[in-house]
């Protein structure tokens, strides 16, 4: 019988059989069971075993004994040690642990050398040296150290330096390629990590059984606290070994008694049961740290081939590739450490648009782990999503304070400074990024973005070209260079770049994006009929993609462009139907994101005279944005302002659109606010908005080029009414020039020509 073609249902079978599914899921699966012979057979087979588990007295007796009374309840509680009498000497406790461990399959001999005071228990665990295989080809030394870090990090009483922090410190001290082996270098690392304790381990033998020695030292004076030699027994694996080392280390560190009473989950339960999966996971993390995302994705996918329940592999894949992994990460999150669980919870919150929830979760994490730089980075990103740029910058600055070489944050800081209008700081941050990574393309690409945003078109073109020189297949630079040529009215190279971009990128989603960008070229020239034909052809091409669903976002954008073109032609029936299509397509893939395009739809409804519907939708939009915890609500204010503008209530339009402008520098906000100011007779305000719009070059301006080009005309009007005729004439000329090849009669062009002629005829 053929297997089931829908893996989602296959994965639900155990939960179904155990009665763990929600009612809706259960119904959906049962309908599938009626349809799918393969899944039906699996459930039927499972049900036979389940019936025996339920009703077989033999199994009941074997597994539970005759009684399930209170004595078993005690036995099943998490391993909790009896508190030692308070005055029991530490040495005696250590000896007891020695006996306990000797009795276990692992033969552990501990010889504590010195009692330690646990005032500051920060512990640095270095990768184990693999003496059996000095090249450590199986990465056993690294795996052992990482597992131990994870296991001990679960304790509230041991402050373990995280793997990420060790990686950062090694990089800061110039040990990027390999771990330091000289005592002086290790001591430097311990000092930088402010570690009180240092744990060094050697793998003496890997087969047939593992043999390991461990040494715990007081990093402040080099005194050895304890040393162990562990030899494996039976078929015990690295995970069991690490569990036993953890117990021994906790004892050796002379922690408070409460530390011994903490629940101590096996490390396999908070990572994976598969060494192979863990090995691929660590490789993925290593590639991730180098920003080699493609390689990291492949590594995490391989990890999942060995253990499909590895939550952190799902987490990283959700971040890097596909949000569908978020639910899997959540489902298996009990198999992660406290720190990792926080990131998963935050990601889930973000997937549900609950940015404040994500911030709260990670803020709590930074209180427990102050050096958690990634948490600060993520918090910053989430504040940006909430429009709170200043808060975002604080967290990015904190992240680079923890790790001055944190490349991605320098990059983020450069953009954040730019967003708050601090161009100088932005350049400093991006130059720092270039200094750290001169051989990478991304720093130059970012510099291109910053120069473009500052209106320095030539510098931007040079930066993007430099990025492409470093990495010819750096698609973002190719796309941006296309946009810059567009702004420079070099339409042929613009078209070539954007077509090359579409050709270069992989996957239906990006191909669809590329096709959208190609349509910017005729639109920028005012060739609206040609653009409409191209948009239709590209929409058809999107629908021919194998993964059609992934093209919906950019299909929505294409319909939005059609709406903008029809608006210029005064065809409001088509404007509204195209915008409705945009909303419909976008919501198919973002069911929780209900504001996208709605503010534009409101604007177009109002312009078409449908004020009641526009007002009702605006109220709905406001309630929705408030339910997401958004304080500033720029989309709401934009919609509200556009209704007032359409009604001719210009003062109110200026008030609302100014509110929107406080948190939005999008082309459409600047344009409509400029229009409102102009209508209200506030010429200074109008000039400021149109000038701001035309001062910078970015992808937003390329997308909204119809309005960006119209801005020249309205800026000309503002200047003319201010009696600043030479500037007005300059803007009219720019506008007429940009529209000289238009294939559609554009009313504003005729008016601009007349106004220009009038100004030029004046003495």
């Amino acid at each position: 019988m053929a297997g089931c073609s829908d893996k989602r249902f296959e994965e639900m079978l155990y939960a179904y059989e155990l009665g763990l599914l929600e009612e809706d899921e259960e119904r959906e699966l049962e309908i599938h069971l009626l349809e799918c012979g393969s899944c039906f057979e699996k459930v039927r087979n499972m049900s036979r075993a389940s019936d025996l588990l339920r009703h077989s007295p033999r199994i009941r007796e074997a597994m539970l004994g005759d009684s399930v009374g209170p004595e078993m309840r005690d036995a099943d509680k998490p391993a909790v040690r009896r508190p030692w009498p308070k005055l029991l000497p530490i040495g005696l406790a250590a000896a007891a642990v020695l006996i306990f461990l000797i009795l276990q399959p692992w033969d552990i001999r501990i010889s504590p050398r010195q009692e330690a005071m646990a005032s500051e228990n920060r512990l640095l665990i270095m990768p184990f040296r693999n003496l059996a295989d000095p090249a450590d080809s199986s990465r056993l030394g690294e795996i052992a150290a990482n597992l131990l870090i994870t296991d001990l990090s679960e304790s509230r009483f041991v402050n373990v330096v995280s793997s990420q922090r060790i990686h950062d410190l090694k990089r800061l001290e110039g040990f990027e390629a390999s771990s330091p082996s000289e005592p002086a270098d290790i001591s430097t690392l311990a000092d930088r990590a402010r570690a009180r304790w240092l744990l060094l381990g050697d793998i003496l033998q890997a087969v047939p059984t593992l043999e390991v020695t461990i040494q715990v030292t007081d990093a402040t004076n080099g005194t050895i606290i304890a040393s162990y030699r562990l030899s494996g027994g039976g078929d015990e694996d690295i995970f069991s070994l690490v569990d036993r080392i953890s117990v021994a280390v906790k004892e050796a560190l002379a922690l408070p008694m409460a530390a011994l009473e903490e629940p101590d989950r096996p490390v396999a339960e908070v990572t994976t049961y598969s060494t192979e999966a863990y090995r691929w996971y660590l490789t993925g993390i290593e590639n991730l740290n180098k920003l080699y995302n493609t390689e990291a994705i492949s590594d995490f996918e391989k990890a999942l081939e060995y253990d499909s329940t590895m939550a952190m592999a799902h987490y990283h894949l959700a971040m890097l590739k596909d949000r569908a992994h978020v639910d899997k990460a959540v489902l298996y999150s009990s198999g992660t450490s406290r720190r990792e669980r926080s990131f998963i919870v935050a990601l889930k919150a973000v997937a549900e648009q609950d940015y404040q929830g994500a911030i709260d979760e990670l803020t709590q994490l930074t209180k427990e782990y102050p050096e958690e730089k990634e948490a600060h980075f993520r918090i910053g990103r989430y504040y940006l999503a909430l429009g709170q740029k200043d808060e975002a910058v604080k967290h990015f600055e904190k992240a680079v304070e923890i790790d001055p070489l944190y490349k991605i944050v320098h990059n983020q800081l450069a953009y954040s400074y730019l967003n708050i209008g601090d161009y100088e700081k932005s350049l400093v941050a991006i130059n720092k990024y270039i200094e750290i990574a001169p051989d990478e393309a991304n720093p130059y690409d970012s510099r291109g973005d910053i120069c473009a945003a500052a209106g320095r078109l030539d510098d931007a073109i040079a930066s993007y070209r430099k990025a492409l020189e470093v990495k010819p297949d750096f698609s973002h630079s190719l796309m941006s260079l296309g946009f810059m040529y567009l702004f420079d009215k070099r339409y042929e190279p613009a078209d070539s770049c954007l077509k090359a971009y579409t050709e270069m990128v992989e996957g239906s989603y990006l191909k669809s994006a590329g096709r959208l960008y190609e349509t910017y070229v005729p639109i920028h020239q005012g060739k609206f009929e040609a653009a409409l034909r191209l948009l239709d052809a590209h929409l058809a091409a999107d629908n021919r993609e194998t993964d059609v669903e992934s093209t919906y976002d950019y299909q929505a954008e294409k319909h939005c462009l059609k709406a903008l073109i029809y608006r210029e032609q005064g065809k409001y029936h088509q404007v509204l139907s195209e915008t409705e299509r945009s909303m419909e397509l976008f919501r198919k893939t973002h069911p929780n994101d209900r504001w996208a395009y709605q503010y534009l739809y409101v604007q177009f409804l109002a312009e078409a005279g449908q004020y009641d519907r526009a007002t009702a939708l605006t109220a709905e939009l406001e309630a929705y944005l408030e339910s997401l915890g958004q304080v500033e609500k720029p989309e709401y204010w934009y919609a509200d302002g556009c209704i007032h503008l359409a009604r001719g209530d210009y003062e109110k339009a200026v008030t609302s659109l100014s509110q929107a402008r406080r948190n939005s520098s999008r082309v459409y906000t600047l344009y409509m606010l400029g229009r409102a100011y102009l209508e209200a007779g506030s010429l200074d305000g109008a000039v400021a908005q149109f000038q701001r719009l035309l001062d910078s070059y970015n992808s937003d301006r390329a997308h909204w080029s119809i309005w960006a080009i119209n801005a020249h005309y309205f800026l000309g009007r503002a200047y003319e009414e201010s009696r600043w005729y030479d500037r007005a004439a300059e803007q009219y000329r720019l506008f007429v020039d940009l529209r000289k090849n238009a294939d559609t009669l554009i009313a504003l062009v005729d008016d601009a020509r007349q106004r220009l002629a009038k100004i030029e005829s004046q003495p």
């Binding site: 155990y14 939960a15 059989e17 155990l18 763990l20 119904r27 049962e30 309908i31 599938h32 069971l33 009626l34 349809e35 012979g37 039906f40 459930v43 039927r44 499972m46 049900s47 036979r48 075993a49 389940s50 019936d51 025996l52 588990l53 339920r54 009703h55 077989s56 007295p57 033999r58 199994i59 009941r60 074997a62 597994m63 539970l64 399930v68 078993m72 309840r73 099943d76 509680k77 998490p78 629940p263 096996p266 049961y273 329940t309 489902l331 298996y332 999150s333 009990s334 198999g335």
Partner: protein, 178 residues
């Protein structure tokens, strides 16, 4: 999709397709009903009722989504009606709690039982907690009781249960744990 195709053919007058459709449907209905009713006789009775309704109406129905979804709703309604109206079910359920009722299979499959026991012992050796969780779950302990006994949160329990069940199934199929 097979039953949807069979239903389409049956609707056009293909008798052999209709025969096959109802044989498939009976087996699948029975599995779903037994899972909910935990009694073979009751399940047979409910499935018979559901099949009768499906047989009488499937040719004239306009299905909102699919035939399978509609057929499932028919079965679901029959089960609900049965649970509401028949006291007999409650009596039998109590018997199950007492452990005296006979399972779905009247004669236990001793080979399967031995394999199951062997796998549970293997599971117990590798991870005692996984084995305990499974046994507790199938012996009728509530989620709250198991969580209390093992000091687990509900989410942890669900994850461990799914993992344990998957390991057990693998062992039953391959003879050993992963």
């Amino acid at each position: 999709m097979e039953i949807n195709n069979l239903q389409s053919k049956a609707r056009c007058g293909d008798d052999s397709a209709e025969d096959r459709l109802f044989r498939l449907l009976r087996a699948r209905f029975l599995l779903l009903a037994q899972r909910k009713l935990r009694d073979r006789d009751d399940s047979e009775e409910v499935v018979q009722e559901a099949l009768k309704t499906v047989f009488e109406k499937h040719r004239e129905m306009e299905f909102e989504t699919s035939f399978a979804a509609w057929a499932h709703r028919v079965l679901e309604n029959k089960i609900l009606t049965f649970l509401r109206t028949r006291k007999r079910h409650n009596d039998r359920r109590e018997n199950f709690v007492e452990g005296t009722a006979v399972g779905v299979q009247d004669q236990p499959d001793s080979a399967l039982e031995s394999r199951l026991l062997d796998c549970l012992r293997k599971l117990n050796r590798v991870n005692r907690r996984h084995a305990r969780i499974l046994v507790y779950k199938y012996q009728g302990f509530t989620v709250a009781e198991i969580c209390d006994r093992l000091g687990l949160t509900r989410t942890n329990l669900y994850t461990l249960l799914s993992r344990a069940r998957s390991m057990l199934e693998f062992c039953l199929e391959k003879g050993d744990l992963k």
